[in-house]
């Protein structure tokens, strides 16, 4: 029980770092563009969500498998094999959680008062400084909501993970996969226990995030 839990947390955290950083960055970039390519990119990024995870996993396997274009490149250049490895689970979870981070982040950045960003520029601060010291803290609430969704989704992801990373106990068998397998095998008791564990862990993290958000609100008085 502890091994899959820790693995799940590790995978979810790594996935969140990836989808969090890229999602927030892309959300920021697209909030600032009106080019039609921005619209297209936005839609494409949200697309993985509409596919059943298993099918998504199949396509990931096609692309990142050892015979896939990117998979071969990763193997040759970095010596990294995603199939049947926990890195593969991270990739699957990151792809699945990406839109959940990206969409709310973009909306939050768009809602930031452009005047305040202008004020920062007038004060001589560069674009990166504006982004990190004005836009980011002012969009914080929406970004946090997206990160929470993304993390929970990454923690619960199993369809695509199962396909790309397999279910190797102690190596790629996350808690969600363990729950799924227990249910499939009719071991209901075990499934309930595992579901309770993951729900409990998740509740603690969620509670922490709402507290963070409430605390932030209290401090800024907004």
């Amino acid at each position: 029980m502890w091994v899959p839990l820790i693995l799940s947390l590790k995978v979810a955290c790594c996935a969140l770092v990836i989808s969090g950083v890229t999602g927030v960055m892309l959300g920021f970039a697209l909030a600032r563009t009106r080019h039609w390519l921005g619209h297209v990119l936005d839609s494409l990024c949200t697309l993985p969500m509409v596919l059943p995870p298993t099918v998504l996993g199949y396509y990931l396997l096609v692309v990142f498998g050892s015979k896939g274009i990117l998979g071969q490149w990763l193997q040759d250049v970095w010596g990294l094999s995603l199939v049947f490895s926990w890195q593969g689970a991270v990739l699957a979870a990151a792809v699945v959680s990406f839109p959940l981070v990206f969409k709310p982040a973009r909306a939050a950045f768009e809602a930031v008062d452009a005047r305040l960003e202008q004020a920062g520029r007038v004060l001589g601060v560069g674009e990166l400084g504006i982004a990190l010291r004005i836009s980011l803290p002012l969009a914080w609430r929406g970004i946090l909501a997206g990160l929470v969704l993304g993390f929970v989704r990454a923690l619960g992801e199993f369809g695509a993970t199962l396909m790309l990373a397999g279910s190797i106990p102690g190596k790629t068998q996350t808690l969600s996969i363990a729950i799924y397998e227990a249910v499939q095998a009719g071991r209901d008791g075990q499934a309930h226990v595992l579901a309770l564990v993951i729900s409990g862990v998740c509740l603690v993290l969620l509670w922490f995030s709402t507290w963070l958000s409430a605390d932030h609100r209290r401090r800024t008085g907004t």
């Binding site: 005047r115 520029r121 007038v122 004060l123 001589g124 803290p137 907004t222």
Partner: protein, 225 residues
């Protein structure tokens, strides 16, 4: 001749046309910009600060060309080093008063303000009589207090020019007197020109300023002869 302006800009929206066609040059270091509400005073300041791109014209301050399509020059906002006080202040709601004032002193990303910076900021807050609010957030401040914080935020930066949009409007008479002397001290201390929007006729004498008056001529906003 610190100020060489030629700003042309035209808006059209919902059947209403607004056209700015302002030219003026001056060597007087203190200029008061006056004119009725909605005439385009704020627009002129925004154009100088770089927040508004004119359709055509030329902007040069103290010999530095800010905007000149003929030369292909359009200096980015942050390189203009204009000490522009927003009419609606635009304080950062997520930062304390002190951090608002320190904001521009930290052009780097992670560079922490030094003790000297802090002292400079607190000194200006003190001169503007809001030092006791340093740890408060802007939403906890009164209108006049916010105005002074916004002024302090510029003052610490050693700008090339002061562009103040009604900096005294929310203040009572004694405080207004006091701030006039502070603004004068700032401008002469940095030896930078001052361009200020005001509706108060007393400012003219107090600042020993040249008055530039905007008015509508042939449907365009122009400088009154």
């Amino acid at each position: 001749m610190w100020c060489d302006l030629d700003i042309r800009k035209r808006w059209q929206w919902a059947g209403r046309v607004f056209e700015l066609d302002v030219q003026w040059q001056t060597a007087h270091r203190r200029v008061l910009l006056m004119g009725s509400s909605g005439i385009g005073k704020t627009m002129v300041l925004r154009a100088i600060a770089g927040l508004l791109a004119p359709d055509a014209g030329r902007i040069a301050i103290d010999g530095q060309v800010y905007f000149d399509p003929a030369l292909g020059v359009n200096l980015p906002i942050r390189q203009r080093k204009a000490g522009y006080l927003f009419q609606d202040l635009a304080l950062f709601p997520h930062l304390s008063v002190l951090d608002n004032v320190l904001f521009g002193l930290r052009p780097g990303l992670w560079w922490r303000p030094t003790r000297a910076h802090r002292e400079l900021a607190l000194q200006w807050l003190d001169r503007l009589q809001v030092a006791h609010l340093a740890r408060h957030r802007p939403h906890m401040l009164s209108g006049g207090q916010q105005q002074r914080v916004a002024l302090a935020r510029l003052a610490v930066l050693q700008p090339r020019v002061l562009l103040l949009d009604e900096p005294l409007s929310a203040l009572d008479t004694p405080l207004r007197q006091h701030l006039r002397t502070e603004i004068l001290a700032l401008a002469s201390g940095l030896n930078v020109p001052l361009l200020m929007i005001s509706h108060d006729a007393q400012d003219e004498a107090a600042f020993d300023a040249q008055v530039v008056r905007l008015a509508t001529l042939n449907g365009k906003t122009r400088v009154q002869a």
